[in-house]
């Protein structure tokens, strides 16, 4: 069974078809890249999957359950986690408090110490131990990005959705983020991930398969080496891959 199965998904804003009749399957253990030019509908698709936008048509199944009409909160509790393109950490809270907000159970059956143990694991993973008591508003850009990811990881997502995670990062920081995603997969911390990215080098490092979007529709899909030889893809977008 696929972790995520999107079928015939569509969303129109005014007269603009932002996403039109999109099918997408993400298998267990897969890192899936979503690429395309600006305005191709990648971020809209990601937000439709996460439930921030309601689709006009089509369906979304997550681990076999139809989540098409479920609100964001329900999807988050079922195991979806979204790492935002625009960083939205809590500037007035410390790094530790930000992470605790991700870690706290949405029910209240566990003890504080369990939450803090999970925070410790993630704080090490995202390498923020040295600034744990600093308020998030005083962190550098790369640190904020890692904190953002740490918060989402602490919600224990099985499907991680990343919206341009390397935006504004240096090359070294991008490689570090790629390493982090590979570690998460190899340790079985997540079942699958969907990464929206313009940074093709990053996509090559992390993605098993990619879906190329163009004007709201799926232009091609498959391993990146196959996709890049598709003439339609080259004509519309992937000339940039070479």
């Amino acid at each position: 069974m696929s972790v995520l199965s999107v079928s015939g998904l569509g969303k129109t804003f005014g007269g603009l078809k932002a996403v039109a009749n999109v099918d997408l399957e993400v298998e267990r253990g897969e890192m899936h890249g979503l690429i395309g030019a600006n305005g191709a509908g990648k971020t809209t698709l990601l937000h439709l999957i996460y439930g921030r936008i309601r689709p006009d048509r089509g369906s979304i199944h997550f681990n076999g359950t139809d989540v098409t009409l479920l609100p964001v909160t329900a999807r988050a509790r079922m195991g979806m986690g979204l790492v935002f393109q625009i960083i939205s950490v809590f500037d007035g809270l410390s790094v530790n408090e930000n992470l605790l907000l991700g870690a706290l159970p949405k029910d209240s059956t566990r003890s504080d110490s369990v939450d803090q143990i999970e925070v410790e694991k993630v704080i090490e993973l995202v390498d923020l131990g040295a600034v744990r008591d600093r308020s998030a508003g005083k962190l550098g850009h790369g640190e904020k990005q890692r904190l953002e990811m740490g918060m989402v990881l602490l919600t224990r997502p099985t499907l991680l959705l990343l919206d341009e995670p390397t935006s504004g990062m240096t090359q070294a920081e991008s490689r570090r983020t790629a390493g982090l995603l590979q570690t998460l997969r190899s340790e079985g911390a997540i079942d699958a991930a969907i990464v929206v990215e313009h940074n093709i080098e990053f996509i090559r490092l992390v993605a098993d398969r990619v879906t190329v979007m163009h004007r709201g529709t799926v232009l091609a899909g498959g391993p990146i080496d196959e996709v890049q030889n598709d003439p339609a893809v080259q004509a519309s977008f992937l000339g940039r891959l070479h």
Binding site: D91, L100, K106, D112
Partner: protein, 300 residues
């Protein structure tokens, strides 16, 4: 200093007055909880503070059916009435779909305040109309001077440490998160309307406790108690002291009424202007309020 001065003062009038200001400080803390920490700007908090005054007056003074009730039961009833009013408002304002934020929320709380003031005016024998309700119950040895001061101080201390503990707890952390970025907290999977609702009810109950004792001590409650004027005044105390700090609203709620009382005795015609100028200068120079500014200086 002003807060602790009654411990060594023999001036019963002064001690009594500071006791009243301490209950106003509890009222200010109830506003700071939802506005300073939760980001919910309210123009209607006097509905709970003054509303509890009316509730305690009706329950302990009116003679009908099971009324009047014993004093302690009346106070508990007044706190419950404020909490229930907050719960009722919260069902409209923090609905799962189409919940109100920012200015919309402020306008609704303003409307509640205006409506309650009109209701108090038009309530006939139940609310006493323009004259309000005269209360005959006394708080025994806790009604005057040092007794009253100690009662108010105890309630303030309990509220202060209770809120401090709450804000440091798991639920408090989530609530502080809501104050900074509500949508983000929702996206992390929390039930934001539920958390806002119950914290709003807590805030209403705190204001209700302070209000019931304040108006019992005053011996009278009138329509202005639930009106926009009272709701606005408490915002000024919180702004002056520093919203989002627990100590700031206490300082504002004690210092500003004290200053007002002192100046109104000496500067008969111009005291309001002086108070207004002080407020404008403080807000312009340090928008975070006095303790908000001091905290920031300490952190940086």
């Amino acid at each position: 200093m002003l807060v602790a001065a009654p411990l060594v003062s023999r001036d019963a009038f002064f001690v009594d007055r500071i006791g009243r200001f301490l209950l106003l400080a509890v009222f200010a803390l109830s506003v700071d909880l939802i506005w300073g920490y939760g980001g919910m700007f309210t123009f209607g908090q006097a509905a709970f503070f003054g509303g509890a005054g009316y509730a305690v007056g009706i329950l302990s003074t009116r003679e009908a059916g099971i009324l009047p009730l014993p004093l302690a039961v009346s106070i508990v009833g007044a706190v419950a009435a404020s909490a229930l009013l907050a719960l009722g408002i919260s069902y409209f304002t923090f609905a799962r779909r189409g919940g109100l934020r920012g200015v919309e929320f402020a306008v609704v709380t303003l409307a509640v305040s205006v409506a309650l003031e009109r209701l108090a005016n038009a309530g006939g024998p139940v609310t006493g109309g323009q004259n309000g309700i005269l209360m005959t119950y006394r708080l025994g040895p806790l009604h005057q001077a040092h007794g009253f001061y100690l009662l108010a101080a105890a309630i303030l201390v309990l509220t202060y440490f209770g809120l401090k503990r709450y804000l440091r707890s798991r639920a408090g952390l989530v609530f502080r998160g809501i104050g900074q970025n509500e949508e983000r907290v929702e996206l992390l999977g929390y039930d934001v309307p539920r958390i806002k609702r119950w914290t709003f009810v807590l805030s209403g109950a705190i204001a209700g406790l302070a209000g019931s004792l304040f108006y019992l001590h005053e011996g009278i409650v009138s329509p202005a108690a639930v009106g926009v004027g009272s709701s606005t005044l408490v915002l000024l105390w919180v702004v002056l002291g520093g919203k989002g700090t627990l100590i700031g609203p206490i300082a504002g709620a004690v210092a500003l009424p004290y200053l007002t009382a002192r100046l109104s005795g000496t500067l008969l015609d111009t005291w309001l202007v002086v108070v207004g100028v002080i407020l404008v200068v403080v807000i312009l120079l340090i928008p975070a309020g006095i303790f908000g500014f001091l905290n920031r200086e300490r952190v940086s």
